[in-house]
C-alpha cells in the first residue's frame, strides 16, 4: 500500500540531485546490463583522457627522474645518458604511447626509482587504502544515517545540537583531527597504535585496531555530510502530505520513519555518499601521511616527488577506475532504492 501511495502522491524526486532526468521504465536485468555496457564504453575514453592528462602534468612538473636518481653528483654526460636510458629524452606523446601500449597488455612496467614491478606495488597497497575507504564509508553510513534520522525525528535542542556538531566535524581539517586522535588515544590512553597498518591476514584484531584512528579521522567529514543530507531529506519527507496521510491511515510511527520516509530520503543520501567516497580518496592521501599507513596515497606522493612516472600513472588509473565504479554503484543504488526510477 505504501509504495502505491508514494507513487500516487508523486515520487518525491522527478530529477536526481546529480542533474540527470529520471524516467520511469520497466524493471529488469536488461536495464542494468545496458547501464553497465554504457558505462564500460564511456570508461575507456575517460581512462585515456585521465592517463594522458596525468602524463602531461607529470612531464610539466619541475625536475625529472634522472636527476632524482643522480642527486647532486654525476656529469652532464651521465645525466643525459641516464635520461636516454629511462626514455625521458623522447617527446612526451611518444613516452605516453609507449606507456599506453604496455599498459593495454597489462604491463604497467617497473618503478623508475626502485625497480619494483608497479602492479606488485599497487596490489600490496590497494587493500590498505580500501580498508580505509570502506571502513570510512561504513562509519559514514551507520553514524551519518543513524544520527541524521535521529536528529530529524527528535528535532528540538538535541536535533540542533547534533546538527551543530556535524558542522564542526565537517569544518575541522582532517590532519588536525588525525593528530589530536593520536595524542589522545595513542599517546595518552595507549588504546590504539599511533601509526602503521597491520594486514588482516596477520592479525584481524590488530588490523581493526590499526584502522580505528585513521578511519575515524577520515570519516568525520563524510559522517557530517551524510548526517546533514539525511536530516534534510528526512525532514522534507516527514513533512510531506503522503506521510501525513499514511499516519492518518494508522501506519505505525516506526514504520513511517524507517519503511516509508527513510526509503524516500535515501536517494539524495546515496548521491552524497558517492561524492564522499570520491572525496575519501583524496582524504586518504593525507591520512596515510599522518598515520604512516602504506596505502596508494602515500605511494603516489612518494612516487610523484621522485618523478616515478610508471607508478604515478598506474595509481591514477586505479583512482579513475574507483571513481567510475563508485558512480556506477550510485546509479545502480538508485534503481535498487526505487525500481521505477532509473538513470537515463
Amino acid at each position: 500500500m505504501a509504495d502505491t501511495s508514494i507513487d500516487a502522491m508523486g515520487a518525491p524526486l522527478t530529477r536526481s540531485p546529480r542533474g540527470r532526468t529520471l524516467r520511469r521504465r520497466g524493471t529488469g536485468g536488461r536495464r542494468i546490463t545496458s547501464l553497465l555496457a554504457r558505462r564500460m564504453v564511456t570508461a575507456v575514453p575517460l581512462l585515456l583522457v585521465v592517463s594522458s592528462f596525468n602524463f602531461l602534468l607529470l612531464s610539466l612538473t619541475p625536475g625529472d627522474a634522472a636527476r632524482a636518481i643522480l642527486g647532486t653528483s654525476g656529469t652532464p654526460e651521465q645525466y643525459e645518458a641516464l635520461r636516454g636510458q629511462l626514455g625521458l629524452d623522447l617527446p612526451v606523446y611518444e613516452q605516453y604511447w609507449h606507456w599506453l601500449a604496455r599498459a593495454l597488455s597489462g604491463d604497467f612496467g617497473s618503478s623508475i626509482t626502485n625497480g619494483s614491478p608497479v602492479l606488485e606495488s599497487i596490489t600490496s597497497r590497494v587493500p590498505v587504502t580500501m580498508s580505509l575507504i570502506v571502513g570510512s564509508l561504513l562509519v559514514s553510513v551507520v553514524a551519518g544515517v543513524g544520527l541524521g534520522v535521529f536528529s530529524a525525528v527528535r528535532g528540538g535542542v538535541i536535533g540542533r545540537a547534533v546538527d551543530a556538531v556535524a558542522l564542526v566535524g565537517w569544518a575541522l581539517p582532517i590532519f588536525w583531527v588525525g593528530s589530536v586522535l593520536v595524542v589522545v588515544f595513542a599517546i595518552k590512553l595507549a588504546w590504539f597504535p599511533a601509526l602503521g597498518y597491520v594486514p588482516f591476514t596477520e592479525s584481524p584484531e590488530d588490523w581493526a585496531r590499526s584502522l580505528v584512528l585513521p578511519v575515524t579521522a577520515l570519516s568525520l567529514g563524510s559522517v557530517a555530510a551524510v548526517l546533514k543530507q539525511t536530516r534534510e531529506s528526512m525532514l522534507d519527507v516527514l513533512g510531506s502530505e503522503y506521510i501525513r496521510m499514511a499516519a492518518a491511515n494508522g501506519v505505525s510511527r516506526r514504520s513511517l520513519i524507517y519503511r516509508h520516509a527513510l526509503k524516500n530520503a535515501a536517494i539524495p543520501v546515496v548521491t552524497v555518499l558517492g561524492v564522499q567516497t570520491v572525496g575519501l580518496l583524496g582524504g586518504a592521501v593525507l591520512i596515510e601521511s599522518v598515520f604512516s599507513v602504506p596505502g596508494l596515497g602515500s605511494l603516489v606522493v612518494g612516487s610523484a616527488l621522485a618523478h616515478d612516472i610508471p607508478t604515478v600513472q598506474a595509481v591514477a588509473v586505479v583512482f579513475t577506475v574507483v571513481v567510475i565504479v563508485v558512480n556506477l554503484s550510485v546509479d545502480l543504488a538508485y534503481g535498487l532504492l526505487n525500481p521505477r526510477v532509473s538513470a537515463a
Binding site: 612538473t61 619541475p62 625536475g63 625529472d64 634522472a66 636527476r67 632524482a68 636518481i69 643522480l70 642527486g71 647532486t72 653528483s73 654525476g74 656529469t75 651521465q78 645518458a81 641516464l82 636510458q85 617497473s110 626509482t113 626502485n114 625497480g115 619494483s116 606495488s121 600490496s124 597497497r125 571502513g135 561504513l138 562509519v139 553510513v141 551507520v142 593528530s179 593520536v182 595524542v183 588515544f185 595513542a186 599517546i187 590512553l189 595507549a190 588504546w191 590504539f192 597504535p193 599511533a194 601509526l195 602503521g196 584484531e205 581493526a208 585496531r209 584502522l211 580505528v212 578511519v215 601521511s289 598515520f291 604512516s292 602504506p294 602515500s298 605511494l299 621522485a306 618523478h307 535498487l336
Partner: protein, 511 residues
C-alpha cells in the same frame, strides 16, 4: 532487494570495529612496547632502491648497514678500518693501485662465498650503474690475484679508497654475484654480507622494511635482535608521535621536534652532519660581475648574522660556522667572517659596488625540511642591509636543475659533510657536477692534484690547505653547521658522537 541483510552487515561491521576498540582499550597496551628481541627504527626517508649501487646516502644508511657490512668501516673520526678485509695497501706511489685481501669463510646472505671474484663482479657492476656515488672513485680495471686478493687499478689517483669502500657512498656494500646477475632482485632484496636480511613478505617498499637474522652471518653472537623493523616516517610530527607512543626505539628527529621528544623521556643525541651554505656559483662573475671580486664574496660573508640565524633555525642542534664542513677543516677559520655589516659595506665600496648590486638565488624550498627557505630569506635580509638585493626562488624537486641552469648566481643548500675529494668534484673542479659556470681556481686545482697522490698526514695537510683557500676565497657563504638529532630509548647503547651519519652497525645493536 531485501535491505535487512545489508543493514545487519553494516551493524555487524560497526560492532566488530567497536569490539576491537574495546578489546584494545581494556588491555591498555595499544602501543605495546616491544621486547628486547625486536628493534624498531624510524627514518625520515628511506632508500630509493635497495640496490646499493643506485641509492643515495643519509638516513637509509642505518638500514643498509644492518644488511650490508662493508669492505671497510668508516669510523667516527672519518678514517676507515678494514671490516671484511684482512690486509690492504696502496701499491707503488701516487695512489693509483690499491690492493686488498678478503677475510676467509664469509658468506653473503644468499649463502654464496665472499671471494675476490665476487668483489670484482660487484665493483664492476657498481661502476656501470647510474648511481649518485658512481663518480666518487674512478676504477680503470679490477683484477683478482688468487681467491681472496683484489687489485684496483685506478683511472685517476685517490687517497681515500678505504673510505670509498666503506659504508660511505655504498660502494663497500658488496652484494652477491647472483644478485648482481639479476638487478631486479637486487633492487627489491638484500644480498650483502650482513647480520640481517630483508624479509620481503613483511615489507612494503617505501613504507616499512622488516629484517630478520641472516643464517650465514659470520659472527652470530653479534645478531642481537630476532627482528628489526625500519619504518619510513617523512612527517616529523608523526615521527615525534611515534616516539611518544613508544612505537619506535630509534629514529631521526628534527630541530623542531627534538625538544618535545626529550620532554617525553626520549634520549636525544646529535652531532655534525653537514653545512647550510649559500654557494656562490658564479664566482668568476660570468653573469653577475660583482661576484668575480673576492672582496664582494667576503663582504657577503661578513654581512650575515650567523648567530641569530642559527639560533632561530636550529637552536641547539647546530652552530654558526664560516667554513664549509668536510673532514679536514682549520678550527681557526670557524669564525673567519664574524658579523660585521660595516666591514662588509666597506669591502663592497672598495670593490666599486658602494651602491650594492642585484642577484638571483635559488634554494631547495621544502625539500630539505623546514629550514631551507627561511634560512635563505634571513640571509637575503642581511644582504639587503649592505645594499645587495636578492631575488630568492624556492625550488621544488628541480633544485639541482635550477642550480645548474645558469639563471642563478648562487644557490643555498644543505650538503652533508663529505670528504674534501668529493667536495672538490662536486663544487670546485672545473668539471665539478654542480659548477654551472665552470669556474676554476688554479691554487685549489693544484692543491687537489697534490692531495690526490698523497697519503695520511700529508694528504690531510694538503686538503686542509685546500679548504682554507676555499674559505679565504669565499666560494661559499656558510651559515651554520647542522646536526641531525637522533632519538633513542634506553635500550639503545653504544651510540658515539662524531660520525657523519649514524650507521646501524655502530649502535651497539650487535650486543
Amino acid at each position: 532487494m531485501n535491505r535487512r541483510p545489508l543493514i545487519a552487515l553494516l551493524a555487524a561491521s560497526a560492532l566488530a570495529l567497536g569490539t576491537a576498540a574495546c578489546g584494545a582499550g581494556s588491555g591498555g597496551d595499544g602501543a605495546a612496547r616491544t621486547g628486547a628481541n625486536e628493534l624498531r627504527i624510524g627514518l625520515s626517508f628511506g632508500p630509493f632502491t635497495l640496490d646499493p649501487a643506485k641509492d643515495g646516502g643519509g638516513a637509509p644508511n642505518v638500514l643498509r648497514s644492518l644488511t650490508n657490512e662493508s669492505l671497510f668501516h668508516m669510523n667516527a673520526d672519518y678514517t676507515a678500518s678494514p671490516a671484511l678485509v684482512s690486509d690492504y695497501k696502496y701499491v707503488g706511489d701516487g695512489n693509483k693501485v690499491f690492493e686488498f685481501t678478503l677475510k676467509k669463510g664469509i658468506r653473503f646472505t644468499d649463502g654464496s662465498p665472499l671471494n675476490a671474484a665476487a668483489v670484482k663482479t660487484w665493483l664492476e657492476y657498481f661502476a656501470k650503474q647510474p648511481g649518485p656515488y658512481v663518480t666518487s672513485l674512478a676504477i680503470g680495471s679490477v683484477e683478482t690475484e688468487g681467491e681472496y686478493t683484489v687489485r684496483l687499478n685506478l683511472a685517476s689517483p685517490s687517497p681515500i679508497v678505504p673510505l670509498l669502500l666503506s659504508q660511505y657512498g655504498n660502494r663497500g656494500a658488496v652484494s652477491s654475484p647472483k644478485s648482481v646477475a639479476d638487478p631486479a632482485s637486487l633492487a627489491t632484496g638484500t644480498y650483502g654480507v650482513g647480520p640481517y636480511v630483508l624479509d620481503p613478505a613483511q615489507s612494503v617498499t617505501g613504507d616499512h622494511y622488516t629484517l630478520v637474522p641472516s643464517k650465514h652471518y659470520h659472527d652470530p653472537s653479534a645478531v642481537r635482535f630476532k627482528k628489526v623493523t625500519v619504518r619510513i616516517i617523512p612527517n616529523p610530527s608523526a615521527m615525534l608521535r611515534a616516539f611518544q607512543a613508544e612505537q619506535i626505539d630509534f629514529g631521526t628527529l628534527d630541530p623542531s621536534t627534538a625538544p618535545a621528544a626529550e620532554k617525553a623521556g626520549v634520549k636525544v643525541m646529535h652531532w655534525r652532519s653537514g653545512t647550510v651554505a649559500v654557494t656562490l656559483a658564479d664566482r668568476e662573475g660570468t653573469a653577475t660581475k660583482p661576484l668575480g671580486d673576492v672582496r664582494v664574496r667576503q663582504a657577503l660573508n661578513y654581512a650575515v648574522d650567523r648567530e641569530a640565524i642559527t639560533k632561530a633555525m636550529v637552536g641547539e642542534y647546530g652552530r654558526p660556522t664560516s667554513q664549509y664542513q668536510t673532514e679536514y677543516t682549520d678550527p681557526a677559520l670557524e669564525n673567519r667572517y664574524p658579523y660585521d655589516p660595516k666591514k662588509a659595506k666597506a669591502l663592497l665600496a672598495e670593490a666599486g659596488y658602494a651602491k650594492g648590486f642585484s642577484m638571483n638565488v635559488v634554494d631547495p624550498g621544502g625539500l630539505v625540511g623546514n629550514w631551507g627557505d627561511p634560512t635563505m630569506q634571513a640571509v637575503a635580509k642581511d644582504w639587503e642591509k649592505i645594499g645587495v638585493r636578492v631575488k630568492v626562488t624556492p625550488a621544488t624537486t628541480d633544485f639541482v636543475q635550477q642550480a645548474l641552469s645558469k639563471k642563478f648566481a648562487a644557490f643555498e643548500w644543505t650538503p652533508d659533510t663529505s670528504p674534501t675529494v668529493l667536495a672538490y668534484s662536486t663544487l670546485y673542479g672545473p668539471k665539478a657536477s654542480i659548477n654551472p659556470f665552470g669556474a676554476s681556481n688554479a691554487e685549489i686545482d693544484a692543491l687537489y692534484r697534490k692531495g690526490q697522490s698523497q697519503q695520511g698526514g700529508q694528504a690531510a695537510e694538503t686538503f686542509r690547505k685546500l679548504n682554507s683557500a676555499v674559505t679565504e676565497q669565499a666560494f661559499n657563504v656558510p651559515i651554520y653547521e647542522y646536526h641531525i638529532p637522533w632519538g633513542m630509548n634506553e635500550h639503545i647503547t653504544g651510540v658515539k658522537k662524531g660520525s657523519w651519519v649514524v650507521f646501524g652497525a655502530d649502535l651497539g645493536w650487535k650486543g
